[in-house]
Symmetry: C2
Subunit: 150 residues, 2 copies
């Protein structure tokens, strides 16, 4: 396979990112890839926030993976900065290629570079493969994740 | 009991916030309330970030509760903005008074005011009372929370 590049997304990557968000058992019910308006507006807002990185993995000029990394300063744990990973998606044709591992390792390295002491994420309990995947990368499944829709 | 005010913290609130972070079964091992330097530095950073609110609950001029609310714009769920609640602490003398509920309801209202479509948080699996508390407030324990110490 050709070389992989992981870099911050630009506005032209948004359609490919949204297509990956929608091509997912949970995302299929939640996304509307035919109308990009809310996504481009959200991307503009996110791009102005220095504590947000929407990352894309690109191979042969094609976006094949994405995740969002948020840097969160805070008081707890002796003033630790933490990072949160959201919306990890791998293109269907790249699943099982190790790209997920490369993307998460990129996010861990970037978190370290930004002086984070903790990386955290939540995964829907119905994603049964996720637990083994994240534990293999050194994460501990120590928490319960709660969500409230407004 | 006298009136409760919930407001963004100021630098003078930091010692009381740190005391509450440390007065906790998990926090006792993680915090160092005798040296406030890392906490004041973190507070300065957090205060400059418009997407961060360190909130305090104040009764009779005394800080009796705290939480951190982070606003996170994002692409997934049709460009939804979500909020994350971290570091919820209630002063020992106020536990069981309903203050936890008031603080979380404040965070939910503030999230709604900032056009969030989702509020999320994680709780250490060892905090066995937390699940009932958050479910009573409408949260769904749908996720597994992973953490990696750097």
């Amino acid at each position: 396979m050709s070389d992989l590049e992981i870099r911050p997304a630009v506005i032209d990557d948004v359609p490919a990112i949204v297509a990956m968000l929608a091509d997912d058992p949970l995302g299929a019910r939640r996304e509307s890839p035919d109308d990009l308006t809310p996504y481009t507006a959200a991307f503009e807002r996110l791009s102005r926030d220095p504590n947000q990185i929407q990352a894309v993995a690109v191979r042969a000029d094609r976006v094949v993976g994405t995740l969002q990394l948020t840097i969160i300063p805070g008081l707890s744990r002796r003033g630790s900065t933490r990072s949160i990973i959201e919306g990890v998606r791998i293109h269907a044709e790249e699943r099982g290629s190790g790209l997920g591992t490369q993307l998460i390792e990129w996010a861990i390295d970037e978190s370290r570079r930004q002086d984070c002491q903790l990386v955290q994420l939540t995964s829907d309990a119905s994603r049964t493969d996720a637990r083994r995947f994240y534990e293999r990368l050194g994460f501990e499944a120590s928490h319960v994740g709660f969500k409230l829709q407004l």
